[in-house]
């Protein structure tokens, strides 16, 4: 089965006779690149590469988990994030299961050469690059943000400063029987002493490359973005507990400048408009528009109501009471000071908001299937072209039901240069035909299902759902534990 593109990225770069654009798509564990000249190349993680991350994982879990991870025939990890440097020289990709950040040089003919792969201790949930594209910021599911140089120099590799706090000295109990008073602490101490007799504790495998903890929440991080205003730089982080935190940029990221407070559900996406305002979305029925430098909530833009109104009567549409939106993407339209496009999980449409105008109601732009990701391609005609990854597997409007009619395209392109309104762009859809049509080797194992799952269609379907639709799961359910 050909998988949809779970993420997209694009860039423009100079060539001898002007400019070319490049579009990157991640489909399962495969990375596909195409340039405007029509050249296509693909990349998949080598199985040898996985050996290392296996070892890493094995150190972490309890013995039972370790055993489960040992089989050699590990599935290839799925790509979860893509980011291109502004000059179109490097592509940063994250593979989910092995928690690896991979940096590629984008060569001629769209060739991708992997320069480094750095496996993090926790699974990355968002990545971004600093304004000068020299540093990767990686936010993880544990609530931490790490900074890593985009390109690691040989010195960096040598100068691995082990984090002092994790360093295990000769074992000394943390307390003595004399100093521990409560029953529960005494039990913990006994445990500790028992552990000590078994020999030194395994030192947890901290990554062996230069990386620095710069920000942390005690909540799962969902997004990290950078901003520069005048001479000041900022890092904004969003979490599952409704927080949007504004910290100073590096090297002062330990200073929290403030919080944009007001969300009542998880925040999943942050986006700056071209004019510098902040738009945030998540599990709330509204998008929030912020004058973020003063932490002032300017406006709440109705999103759920709009989408619900548009899809009334749709077969996969639940009743008003249960209908909830989960924002999976917000993009600022290039060459427009105020327009943003918004995607919600399992919705076969984008919503456009023109934030400058007096009427800030959004406009629903129906599409051929659920929106998975979007990347803007610079058009020669001026204006923007949006390449949109479409879920061609699931029925439009559903994250569960599989489509009956085959042959739907994995990509749809919209442009706004003709009338200022978004319309299907057949030209680009045509030139991206190779990119969007199913892979030549239809039967090839896609890497989404693990060895044990092979043939178990149900598990495969679930694995695909998990890969494509993770945002609604951030919603807290009453009584549920993390």
């Amino acid at each position: 089965m050909t998988l949809p593109y779970q993420c997209l990225a694009a860039c423009t770069r100079p060539v001898s006779d002007g400019h070319e654009w490049l579009l990157f798509g991640a489909t399962g564990s495969e990375l596909v690149a195409q340039s405007s000249s029509g050249i296509v190349s693909t990349w998949t993680p080598e199985s040898a590469i996985l050996a290392e991350s296996d070892r890493e994982d094995a150190q972490e879990g309890p013995p039972a988990k370790r055993a489960k991870l040992t089989p050699v025939a590990e599935p290839k990890p799925n790509l979860s994030h893509l980011k291109v440097t502004k000059d179109g020289t490097y592509l940063v990709a994250v593979t989910a299961e092995d928690k690896c950040i991979r940096v590629f040089q984008i060569g001629d003919q769209c060739r991708l050469e992997q320069l480094s792969q750095r496996c993090m201790a926790k699974r990355p949930s968002s990545i971004t690059l600093t304004a000068d594209d020299s540093i990767i910021l990686c936010a993880d599911k544990f609530g931490d943000v790490y900074s890593l140089p985009l390109l690691s120099s040989p010195e960096d590799e040598q100068a691995v400063i082990p984090e002092p706090k994790e360093d295990q000295k000769k074992f000394e109990p943390s307390a003595s029987v004399l100093t521990v008073h409560s029953g529960r602490n005494r039990k913990a101490l006994e445990e500790q002493l028992k552990q000590a007799q078994k020999g030194p504790k395994q030192v947890k495998d901290t990554p062996k490359f230069k990386h620095q903890l710069i920000i942390g929440h005690v909540s799962m991080l969902t997004d990290v973005v950078c901003a520069t205003i005048g001479s000041r730089s900022y890092i904004l982080t969003a979490d599952r507990d409704e927080h949007i935190r504004v910290s100073r940029g590096l090297p002062q990221a330990h200073i929290i400048d403030g919080f944009c407070q007001g969300h009542e559900e998880f925040v999943s996406r942050l986006c700056f408009t071209k004019s510098g305002r902040l738009v945030s979305g998540g599990g709330d029925p509204y998008l929030y528009l912020w004058d973020w430098l003063s932490y002032h909530l300017e406006e709440k833009l109705p999103l759920q109501e709009l989408i619900f109104g548009h899809y009334k009567g749709h077969p996969y549409h639940t009743g008003a009471a249960e209908f909830k939106v989960a924002v999976s993407g917000i993009w600022a339209v290039p060459d427009s000071a105020q327009e943003i496009l918004v995607a919600c999980e399992g919705i076969p449409a984008l919503v456009s908001f023109k934030l400058g105008s007096s009427s800030r109601t959004g406009k629903v732009l129906p599409l051929n299937g659920n929106v998975l990701d979007l990347a803007f391609i610079a058009s020669d005609a001026g204006g923007a072209i949006a390449a949109i990854s479409i879920d061609h597997v699931h029925h439009p409007g559903s994250t569960q039901e599989v489509r009956q009619e085959p042959g739907a395209s994995r990509l749809q392109c919209l442009s706004n240069y003709n009338s200022g309104e978004w319309e299907d762009d057949k030209t680009l859809t045509g030139s991206l035909e190779r990119f969007s049509r199913p892979m030549p080797n239809e039967e090839r194992e896609s890497g989404i299902a693990s060895e044990a799952d092979r043939g178990k269609a149900d598990n495969k379907a679930k694995a695909l759902r998990d890969l494509l639709y993770g945002v609604e799961n951030l919603r807290k359910r009453p009584g549920a534990e993390d």
Partner: protein, 294 residues
């Protein structure tokens, strides 16, 4: 389900009787200290969206801006008007506000021994966790109704590791106590500790420059951990030498050593107490703005 265990039944009965009698002091044995709260899950706890929306008036009724007792004049609010909602919000904020800011927080107060001691020493203290404390505050307030004592202390149940900035504004506090925090011995659980470098950033956010964090523990390892993280964080400087014994710092250090329940236990057992105090230093100028700033 089986019948309630007798112990729990007694506890419930006891609480009911307490509720009926405002002035009765609660007995500690009927309350449990929450064992090792899980800082990652507590979804059930409520918290305000922001400090501005916090209902402080219900915690410190004597300091309420708008006293509900004096013939409440409920304004008619036209919700259908565009500004109706905003007006309602403003009104709500007023009824929730108090006349002075909370400035001292005892995080993980346990049975609240420190809080009651601080009540007489300092005007405002806010403490977190344990219903026992809430009951005791109620009893003491009603016993001291004529002299208005104990109006300046309050108690909230909250997971401070996640939601401190929901309760306190930037630079609001002048003192934070971290007394005998749960040690979370296992290395796997270190992220559950109440001190980490990211949390030092959060404590710095709610703390005025010049304010202090006070830590005390009987676990050497944890002490070193806390010192390592605060002293290694650019927003904090360790307070040492004679300064520890002087003025408000000296008062706070002495009170937390003797008045916390854990502190008393350690004294009874002839255990060791490790104390450390850290001052919130001024934030440096933004990068590139070092000159031309005073």
């Amino acid at each position: 389900m089986a019948a309630e265990p007798p112990k729990r039944q007694k506890r419930e009965e006891y609480k009911r009787s307490l509720a009926a009698d405002d002035g009765a002091l609660p007995k500690k044995k009927f309350f449990r200290q929450r064992a090792h709260a899980n800082p990652f899950s507590d979804h059930a706890l409520t918290y305000p969206k922001s400090p501005a929306e916090m209902d402080w008036a219900s915690v410190y009724p004597a300091f309420a801006v708008k006293k509900p007792a004096q013939g409440e004049d409920v304004k008619e609010i036209d919700e259908s008007r565009a500004d109706g909602q905003a007006a309602h919000k403003e009104e709500q904020k007023k009824t929730r506000a108090i006349t002075k800011d909370v400035e001292i927080a005892d995080i993980g107060c346990g049975f609240g021994g420190l809080l009651f001691a601080l009540s007489t020493t300092f005007p405002d203290t806010l403490s977190l966790v344990t219903e026992y404390v809430q009951e005791k505050i109620r009893a003491l307030r009603s016993q001291n109704a004529e002299n208005q004592a104990y109006q300046n202390i309050g108690c909230l149940r909250a997971n401070t590791m996640k939601f401190l900035p929901n309760f306190f504004r930037k630079h609001q506090l002048r003192a934070i106590f971290l007394c005998f925090p749960d040690p979370h011995f296992k290395q796997r659980k270190h992220k559950a500790r109440i001190v980490s470098s990211p949390l030092c950033s959060e404590y710095a956010y709610v703390m005025k420059p010049g304010g202090y964090v006070y830590t005390i523990t009987d676990v050497r390892d944890l002490h070193e951990w806390m010192v390592g993280h605060f002293a290694g964080h650019a927003s904090w400087a360790r307070v040492e030498g004679s300064e520890l014994a002087e003025g408000e710092v000296g008062q706070c250090v002495a009170t937390m050593s003797t008045e916390t329940e854990e502190g008393k236990k350690v004294t009874r057992n002839n255990g060791q107490k490790f104390i450390a105090v850290f001052r919130r230093v001024e934030d440096p100028a933004w990068l590139g703005e070092e000159h031309g700033q005073t």
